[in-house]
Amino acid sequence: MIGLIHYLLLATILFGIGVYGVFAKRNAVAILMSVELMLNAVNINFVAINKFVQTGNAIGQLFAIFVIVVAAAEVAVGLALIISIYRLRKSVNLNDFNLMKW
C-alpha cells in the first residue's frame, strides 16, 4: 500500500537530486532544470499532504498549480537570461561568469 511516507520519500529524493544539480552542475540550463526538480518535489509534498493530512479541501492542489504557473514564468525569465548571457559570452558554463570575484 502506498502511503504518505512514500510520497514524502519521493519528494525528498527529488529535492536532493535538485539540490545536487544546483550545486554540482556547471551548465546554466542544467541548473535551471534542477531548480524545476526542487519545485516539483515541493509540489508533490503539497498534493500528498493535501490528500492524506489536510483532507476536505483543495488548498494543496491549488498551491501546486500556483507553483507550476510561477515556475513557468520563472523558466521563461531564466532561459531568456541564459540566452542573453550566451550571446554576450558564447558560453553557458557558470565557471566563466566570475565578474564579481574579489
Binding site: L99, M100, W102
Partner: protein
C-alpha cells in the same frame, strides 16, 4: 535756551554719536583720513557739548534724582538684559571726564598721528572706544555694562596692537586681552549669580532688593566675583601685568584708554555697585588690601624704570590701586574724586610724554633725553604741572583727592593703609621728579635736537594743565565740598577735611621731590652708588618683582604641560581607539573579501549552509525539549 528736560531725553545721543562716527568711517570715510578724523572729533565734540549741559542740569538739581529710560534688548527664561540710559551724579562726572579727555586726546592725535598711514582706522577705533566707554558709563544695568565693558576691552586690544607690524605690540595686545579674560570671567560669573539670586540686573531694582538682604554666603561670593572685573580692567595685582605692556600702543591711546578712562572703568564699577560691596565687610577689606598692595607694589617698580611711558604706566597702576583702596575703605567720594583728577593730570602727563617722544623720534629712554626745557617749554611746564598734581602738591587737583583718600584711611581707622598710602605718595613724588630732572632738566644734552610740538598738540596740553590745576577745587573745603555732596552712596564714609593730614601729606610730597632733586639734579647722592649698594633690590624692582617671569613659568609648566598631556591623550588614546577600530574594520574586510569569488553557486552554498545550521539548531531545540 535749551529746555533742560530735553537734554535728558536726548542723552542717549552721547554714546550714539561716536558709534555713528565709527560706522561712517568704517563704511564710507576711510578713504579720506582727514575727513575720518574730522568726523570722529565732531562726534566726540557733540557728545561733549551734550554732556556739559547735562552735568549742569544734574549738579543744579538734587543729588538723589535719577533719570532712567531703558528698553528690552534680550530676554530669555531667567535672564533679561535691557539697554538703557541712567543719569545720576556719578554718571554725570564720568561723562564729563570721558568726553573731555577723549575730545582733547583726539585733537592731540591729529598732530601725533600725523604721518601715520592708518589714520582712518585709528580714528575709527577711537570713535568706537569713546562710544563704548560712554555706553558703559550710562548703562542702567549690569548686562549692558558688561557688553560695553567687553567692547572697551576689544578697543583696547585693537589700539594696543595698532602698530601690529611690531611683534612687541602684537604680544602686548594679546597679553592685555588674555589677562582681561581672566578678570571678566569672574565678573561675568558674578553678574550671572546676581541675576540668579535677585532676578534682575538693573541697578535701582537691585538696590531695592538688596536692602535688608544679609545672607553673607551669597553676598560675599557675588562681591568677590564682581571685583574680578575691576581687578582685570583696572589692572590690580595680580592681574596688573598687562597695563605696562599696553604702552606699546600709540601714546594718545595710552593717555586716553590706559590712564584716564578705560582703566578707571573698574573703579567706576566699584562705585556703581557700591551698594553691593558695602554690605560685605570682608569683600571691602579684600578690595582695600588689593588696592593698597597694588599702589605700593607699582610705585616701587616705577622708582627704577627708565622708559618714560613705563614710569607713567606704573604710576597709573599705583594710582588705580589708590582709588581701589579708597573704595575698599568705604571712601567712595574720595575714590571717585581721585579718579576724576587723575584722569586729567595723568592724561596730561601721557600727552606731554607723547610730545617729547614725538619730538625725539620715538625715543622713550629718559636717560637719552635731557635739557628739554629749553627747546620744549610748553611741554615741559605742562608736564611739571601734571607731575606736581600727581605728587599731591597743594593747591593742585591731585592734592585734594589724594588727601581725601589718606584722610579716609586715617579717619576710618585704617592706620596701616594710611601709612602705606603716605609711603606711596612719597614714592610717587620721588619717581615723577626723578623723571623730570633727568629728562627735562638733567645734564644730558640729548634733547638739543628737539623742537616744540605744533599747537594742535600743545593746546590740549594747556587745557588739561588748566584742569589739573583747578579740577580739585570742586572737592575742596573752599567750594563746600560740592563733589562729596553729589557723589556719595549709602554706607560711604565721609570725613571733614583735617589740616594736620593735609600738612603731613604735603610735606611728604615735598620731601620726595627734594630727594629726587638732590639725587638727580644736584648729584649730592650719586644714583650710581645707590644702584651699586642696593643692586639686589634694584634688580628685583627693575625686573618688576619677576611677576612676568613667574607667570611665564607657570604657563610653561601648567598650561603647556597640561596641553602636552592632553595632546598625548588625544594622540595615543582617543586617536588610538578610533584608528584601531578603523584598522580592524579594514583588516576584516581584507580577509572576508576572499569569500566573494563571484560564483553564484558559492553564494548558494553559503545560503544552504545557513539553512542547515538553522535547521540543526531548531532540531536540537526540539530534541532537547523531548528528552
Amino acid at each position: 535756551m535749551i529746555n533742560m528736560q530735553n537734554i535728558l531725553n536726548i542723552s542717549w545721543l552721547i554714546p550714539a554719536l561716536p558709534f555713528l562716527a565709527f560706522t561712517l568711517i568704517g563704511l564710507f570715510l576711510h578713504r579720506w583720513p582727514k575727513i575720518a578724523a574730522a568726523a570722529s572729533i565732531l562726534a566726540i565734540g557733540g557728545s561733549f557739548a551734550l554732556s556739559v549741559p547735562l552735568a549742569v542740569k544734574v549738579f543744579t538739581g538734587s543729588p538723589e534724582q535719577v533719570f532712567e529710560i531703558s528698553a528690552r534688548w534680550l530676554s530669555m527664561p531667567g535672564l533679561r538684559v535691557d539697554m538703557g540710559i541712567m543719569i545720576d551724579p556719578l554718571t554725570a562726572v564720568m561723562l564729563i571726564v570721558v568726553t573731555t579727555v577723549a575730545l582733547l586726546v583726539q585733537i592731540y592725535s591729529l598732530g601725533y598721528m600725523d604721518k601715520d598711514p592708518g589714520l582712518s582706522s585709528y580714528f575709527a577705533y577711537q570713535s568706537i572706544f569713546a562710544g563704548s566707554m560712554l555706553g558703559l558709563v550710562v548703562a542702567s544695568n549690569f548686562g549692558q555694562l558688561f557688553v560695553f565693558w567687553e567692547l572697551v576691552g576689544i578697543c583696547s586690544y585693537l589700539l594696543i596692537g595698532f602698530w601690529f607690524g611690531k611683534e612687541s605690540a602684537r604680544d602686548a595686545a594679546i597679553k592685555a586681552f588674555v589677562t582681561n579674560r581672566v578678570g571678566d570671567f569672574g565678573f561675568l560669573l558674578g553678574i550671572l549669580l546676581l541675576t540668579i539670586v535677585f532676578g534682575t540686573l538693573n541697578y535701582s531694582e537691585l538696590a531695592v532688593r538688596l536692602a535688608g538682604y544679609n545672607n553673607m554666603a551669597v553676598l560675599l561670593p557675588i562681591s568677590i566675583l564682581l571685583f574680578f572685573g575691576p581687578m582685570g580692567k583696572s589692572a590690580q595685582f595680580p592681574l596688573h601685568v598687562w597695563l605696562p605692556d599696553a604702552m606699546e600702543g600709540p601714546t594718545p591711546v595710552s593717555a586716553l584708554i590706559h590712564a584716564a578712562t578705560m582703566v578707571a572703568a573698574g573703579v567706576y564699577l566699584i562705585a556703581r555697585a557700591f551698594f553691593i560691596f558695602s554690605q560685605s565687610p570682608q569683600a571691602m577689606f579684600l578690595i582695600a588690601v588689593v588696592g593698597g598692595f597694588t599702589a605700593l607694589f607699582a610705585a616701587s617698580i616705577a622708582l627704577v624704570q627708565n622708559d618714560i611711558k613705563r614710569i607713567l604706566a606704573y604710576s597709573t597702576l599705583s594710582q588705580l590701586g589708590y582709588m581701589v583702596m579708597a573704595m575698599g575703605i568705604g571712601a567712595l567720594t574720595a575714590g571717585m574724586f581721585h579718579l576724576m583728577t587723575h584722569a586729567f593730570f595723568k592724561s596730561l602727563l601721557f600727552l606731554a610724554a607723547g610730545s617729547v617722544i614725538h619730538a625725539l623720534h620715538e625715543e622713550q629712554d629718559i636717560w637719552k633725553m635731557g635739557q628739554l626745557s629749553h627747546k620744549m617749554p610748553i611741554t615741559t611746564w605742562t608736564f611739571v604741572i601734571g607731575a606736581l598734581a600727581l605728587a599731591g602738591i597743594p593747591p593742585l587737583s591731585g592734592f585734594w583727592s589724594k588727601d581725601e583718600i589718606l584722610l579716609g584711611a586715617y579717619a576710618g581707622g585704617y592706620m596701616g593703609l594710611y601709612i602705606l598710602g603716605s609711603l606711596v605718595a612719597f614714592m610717587t613724588a620721588f619717581y615723577m621728579f626723578r623723571l623730570i630732572f633727568t629728562a627735562f632738566f638733567g645734564s644730558n644734552t640729548h634733547g638739543h635736537h628737539s623742537h616744540e610740538s605744533s599747537p594742535v598738540m600743545t593746546i590740549p596740553l594747556m587745557i588739561l594743565a588748566l584742569f589739573s590745576i583747578v579740577a580739585g577745587f570742586v572737592g575742596s573745603p573752599f567750594m563746600d565740598n560740592i563733589f562729596g555732596h553729589f557723589i556719595t552712596s549709602p554706607g560711604a564714609a565721609h570725613h571733614e577735611a583735617s589740616l594736620p593730614i593735609m600738612a603731613v601729606s604735603s610735606l611728604i610730597a615735598l620731601s620726595g621731590i627734594l630727594l629726587a632733586w638732590m639725587i638727580y639734579q644736584k648729584g649730592i647722592i650719586s644714583p650710581e652708588n645707590l644702584r651699586q649698594r642696593f643692586s639686589g633690590i634694584y634688580q628685583l624692582l627693575y625686573r618688576k618683582y619677576y611677576v612676568d617671569e613667574l607667570y611665564a613659568w607657570l604657563i610653561a609648566v601648567f598650561v603647556d604641560g597640561g596641553a602636552r598631556l592632553l595632546e598625548w591623550i588625544d594622540l595615543k588614546i582617543v586617536n588610538g581607539a578610533v584608528n584601531s577600530l578603523a584598522s580592524f574594520t579594514g583588516w576584516s574586510g581584507q580577509t572576508l573579501r576572499y569569500t566573494e569569488d563571484g560564483q553564484v553557486q558559492t553564494y548558494a552554498l553559503y545560503l544552504l549552509a545557513g539553512v542547515v545550521i538553522i535547521l540543526i539548531t531548531a532540531m536540537w531545540a526540539v530534541f532537547a525539549a523531548l528528552v
